[in-house]
């Protein structure tokens, strides 16, 4: 349990923390305590308790401390030893207490009593809920086989359900962070370098001299360590080139803002490759030593001149040349940021690969200021039996399609749940952990159609988000501040382990996912997969394997371990890449083998019809998707989203700033009402909004019907033929003012 301490001690610890050093920089500048002031009156008689945690408000998982003052939750601050946060949380993490205090939280298990989707539930005991689920699981297993249950997961506690499902016999485990997020990026980098980028990204922004952002809206995309390093690089004079149809925060910090016509980035990237090869701006030695297919690449892009790209992208040829030279000037400390949410237009693997090729030409992979070689702690696995073989998986529903998808497609499982005559594998049961599929998967009607075909839908959540409304059983999890979870082993420059311990007792009748999965395993006869007596014992076992213990971890929160390799390639070192050729593949032999373009080519995408504008979306720094919009502290910072409209467009439609409009897309899908932000910061052929608003669930009282949900307008999806990513930016909207 977290220790109590007198406040002087606490001050000392905090003070020591503030002096902590950081890898590779001197972020923390000295602060001399002032003289002549007495200890403050305000805190003198307080008792302060602090507990180690890592944050669950997004998936960067920063480690920090949760403070309690006089028995009241007080604040959450970063742990200075943590390379993901460097002692400083982002606004969402700082506001994490709001997840705990939210009065709208789920409070007790619920079982559906009427038609699915009607949201009529009865309160149940945990036993009743588990019995109900276990009976259905047994029935599904007998009738259709265990593989017909799938898990959708996004978040720490999903791991226990992963174990449960694997033990039960299903390998159909999908996360929206693949086919709706960074799947194309991982595949593009695996194809090129033999390794993915992973999360937290292995980008060495801190030491970059030139940063190229294709969309990536760092600063609004508030992935903590990345924002810190970006800002430090900017302060140190790095030149930033931002390609974005919108004047993002990052664009405002840039030397060059390229307001590209949306959906045309591949053309720009090819033109850059062209110039860099043509003007010999690339890292010759590196290309020579490590890459495969340079001549094929050169040949392939020979026609992709800046003049060719200009009418496509609207970026002037001399700007394309100038920016290419800027990149060349800083070789190899130039990084084309790989992006993260990259499922845009359906040719995303190819677009991201064009960036990867540029990185290879500039020699930035494995180099200072480019991509470092990450290290990760290796924990001993808590002993458990081997999982049974699973005979069918989601792939069988898509014969011959998406050959390079290395993970299950959330959208794919969803589609394959809708029974069709030609498919023999349709899913009968879903577990949904920590992902709000209704807002997360495009084409929400389809998601609902799939749900209506299910025999069992179990949702494990902390809030009554939209997906819970469709559930048969809702299992209320306690928040991350009230539970233990698995050891955090994020890849970084140095390996670390971090602890999440409960800072507060679980409120209401909520429980950790680890306990739920273990209890369910007992009813399914699978308890040998959850052999630990207590979760403390399970954690201690793993911590001991890297030379620490739960006891020590409670005191320090984060432990840094030794790395077994340097973070950059050594000069002249031979290196075997995990690609078929063992080289960085500028020309992808794998893509060639599967009949895809081995070198990216530009494909044109449909443009908005007259009176319509391309719908773009992104992040606000103080919110994580839809999971924080009901958080009292964070909703206080921003409680609804706005649609960004260029003044010319606003004029044409007679829209004025802050007026409410309804958006309607090319298929007649309508949004909730949303305020107009008239701004020069966006092109005239697109509009923009922050994702995660416009909740339709009235049980989330603070966020209900506040702003609009982009997902409701994403009825058209462009599938990536290589790996099945769902391109979501091919939708066009127009304004409806009369209906507001």
């Amino acid at each position: 349990m977290p220790e109590n301490m007198r406040r002087r001690e606490f001050i000392k610890i905090l003070g020591a923390g503030m002096g902590g050093a950081l890898v590779g920089t001197s972020f923390l500048k000295g602060f001399t305590p002032p003289e002549g002031l007495n200890a403050s009156e305000l805190l003198k008689n307080s008792t302060i308790k602090k507990t180690a945690t890592y944050c669950e408000i997004c998936f960067w998982k920063c480690a920090g401390w949760v403070y309690e003052k006089d028995g009241q939750p007080w604040k959450i601050v970063g742990n200075p030893d943590d390379p993901s946060s460097n002692g400083r949380f982002c606004p969402r993490g700082t506001g994490g207490l709001g997840a705990y205090t939210d009065p709208d939280r789920l409070k007790t298990p619920l079982i559906r009593t009427e038609e699915r989707g009607k949201q009529v539930f009865r309160e149940a005991t945990w036993d009743e809920a588990f019995d109900y689920i276990a009976d259905k699981m047994k029935m599904i297993s007998e009738k259709w086989g265990p593989e017909c249950i799938a898990l959708f997961t996004h978040g720490s506690g999903g791991d226990y359900f992963k174990n449960l499902l694997k033990a039960y016999g299903s390998n159909n485990i999908a996360a929206p962070s693949y086919a709706q997020c960074r799947g194309p990026r991982e595949e593009a980098y695996v194809l090129t370098f033999g390794e993915g980028v992973d999360s937290p990204e292995r980008t060495d922004l801190l030491n970059s001299k030139c940063i190229v952002l294709i969309g990536s809206h760092i600063g609004e995309n508030m992935h903590n360590g990345q924002v810190q390093e970006f800002s430090e690089a900017v302060a140190n004079g790095a030149s930033v080139i931002t390609v974005d149809p919108r004047f993002s925060t990052a664009a405002s910090k840039s030397k060059y803002w390229l307001p590209i016509k949306p959906a045309t980035d591949t053309a720009l990237l090819l033109a850059w490759i062209h110039v860099i090869i043509e003007e010999e701006l690339y890292d010759k030695e590196y290309v020579e030593k490590y890459t495969y297919g340079f001549d094929l690449l050169k040949e392939s892009v020979s026609q992709n001149t800046p003049e060719w790209a200009y009418p496509i992208t609207t970026i002037k040829p001399h700007i394309i040349r100038e920016t290419a030279r800027e990149m060349g000037k800083h070789v190899p400390a130039t990084i084309i940021h790989p992006g993260r949410h990259v499922t845009w237009y359906g040719d995303d693997t190819q677009r991201v690969r064009a960036g990867a090729i540029l990185n290879a030409l500039l020699g930035s992979w494995g180099r200072r200021g480019g991509f470092f070689v990450p290290a990760k702690a290796h924990l001993a696995k808590y002993p458990m039996p081997k999982f049974p073989d699973s005979h069918k998986d989601w792939r069988q529903a898509y014969p011959g399609k998406y050959p390079l998808a290395s993970l299950a497609l959330a959208s794919g499982i969803c589609d394959a749940t809708i029974p069709t005559p030609e498919r023999d594998c349709s899913f009968k049961g879903w577990f949904v952990y920590g992902t709000n599929l209704i807002q997360t998967l495009p084409q929400p009607e389809k998601t609902i159609e799939a749900i209506q075909a299910l025999e069992l839908l179990v949702v494990i959540d902390i809030l009554p988000s939209e997906i819970t409304g469709w559930a048969d059983v809702i299992l209320p999890e306690c928040t991350y501040l009230e539970r233990y979870d698995d050891v955090r082993v994020s890849p970084a420059r140095i390996p670390t382990v971090a602890l999440r311990a409960p800072a507060f007792e679980p409120q209401f009748n909520t429980k950790p996912a680890s306990w739920m999965a273990k209890e369910l395993s007992k009813r399914l006869g699978l308890e040998q997969y959850f052999a630990w007596e207590t979760f403390e014992e399970y954690l201690d076992y793993q911590f001991k394997s890297v030379g620490t213990s739960l006891e020590e971890m409670k005191q320090i929160g984060v432990k840094k371990l030794e790395s077994d390799h340097p973070i950059y390639f050594l000069n002249g070192e031979d290196y075997e890449f995990s690609t078929p050729t063992g080289k960085i593949e500028l020309y992808s032999t794998t893509l060639a083998e599967h009949g895809f373009d081995p070198v990216p080519k530009y494909t044109a995408h449909p443009e908005p019809p007259e009176g319509f504008y391309r719908l773009l979306y992104g992040r606000a720094p103080m919110h994580t998707f839809g999971r924080t919009t009901n958080n009292p502290l964070l909703a206080d910072l921003m409680d609804e989203n706005e649609v960004w409209v260029n003044p010319k467009v606003a004029n044409k439609w007679g829209l004025h700033h802050q007026q409410y409009v309804i958006l309607e897309n090319q298929d007649g899908k309508r949004s909730n009402k949303i305020r107009v932000k008239v701004t020069e910061r966006i092109r005239h052929d697109a509009v923009y909004m922050v994702h995660g608003f416009g909740h339709t669930q009235s049980k989330m009282r603070r966020s209900y019907m506040k702003g609009a949900d982009d997902t409701q307008l994403i009825s058209r999806v462009d599938l990536d033929p290589i790996m099945g990513g769902t391109g979501m930016r091919g939708n066009f909207v127009t304004f409806k003012t009369e209906a507001v």
């Binding site: 905090l14 500048k29 949380f89 700082t94 925060t249 020069e680």
Partner: protein
């Protein structure tokens, strides 16, 4: 001793962490804020520039809020920090009307509240809460009377401005440009 704050508009990304951190550290009730974020965009597409500022009480050296207070509740502390003594404040709001920065508000408990430069932390040698959380290290706090302090040095070496100096209040929050 003269405390001041400098905020680097080049680093700041307008994330609002300073706002939430202040709310939790100082138990500022939901719906109220001691600091806030302003984005000032100039230009016409595509030639745009953006200045992002984290704003709060400027701890003015010639503070009209202190002058207009009929009870001395608003006063200067050591180091020039402008404070409100809750038990002396009658809630007449003269100080609110007198602050050109609109930095003050009526706390639901009746007294007037605003940024304290986290005096309680500063007294213990800590940085203000907002400064210590800022993920981009955009904020610098310290003593202007100490020529070797980080803030003195940075104000020496970087161009900076304060907000509406023409209001004559001698603000002590500076924006590095």
């Amino acid at each position: 001793m003269r405390y001041a704050m400098a905020i680097d508009t080049r680093r700041c990304v307008g994330c609002s962490d300073c706002v939430v951190a202040c709310q939790t550290e100082n138990k500022v009730p939901v719906g109220y804020c001691r600091d806030w974020i302003v984005e000032e965009m100039s230009g016409k597409y595509p030639l745009l520039s953006l200045e992002i500022r984290s704003e709060r009480c400027n701890h003015c050296a010639d503070a009209p809020c202190v002058r207009s207070c009929p009870t001395s509740a608003s006063h200067y502390e050591d180091g020039g920090i402008v404070m409100v003594t809750h038990e002396e404040c009658i809630g007449c709001k003269a100080c609110i009307a007198s602050c050109p920065y609109d930095a003050r508000f009526v706390h639901p408990e009746g007294y007037v509240d605003k940024c304290t430069f986290c005096l309680h932390r500063v007294k213990d040698g800590l940085k203000p809460a907002c400064v210590s959380v800022c993920p981009t290290h955009a904020m610098i706090f310290g003593d202007l009377d100490d020529a070797n302090s980080e803030i003195s040095k940075i104000l020496q070496s970087r161009t900076h401005k304060s907000l509406i100096p023409e209001a004559g209040t001698k603000p002590h929050v500076f924006y590095l440009l």
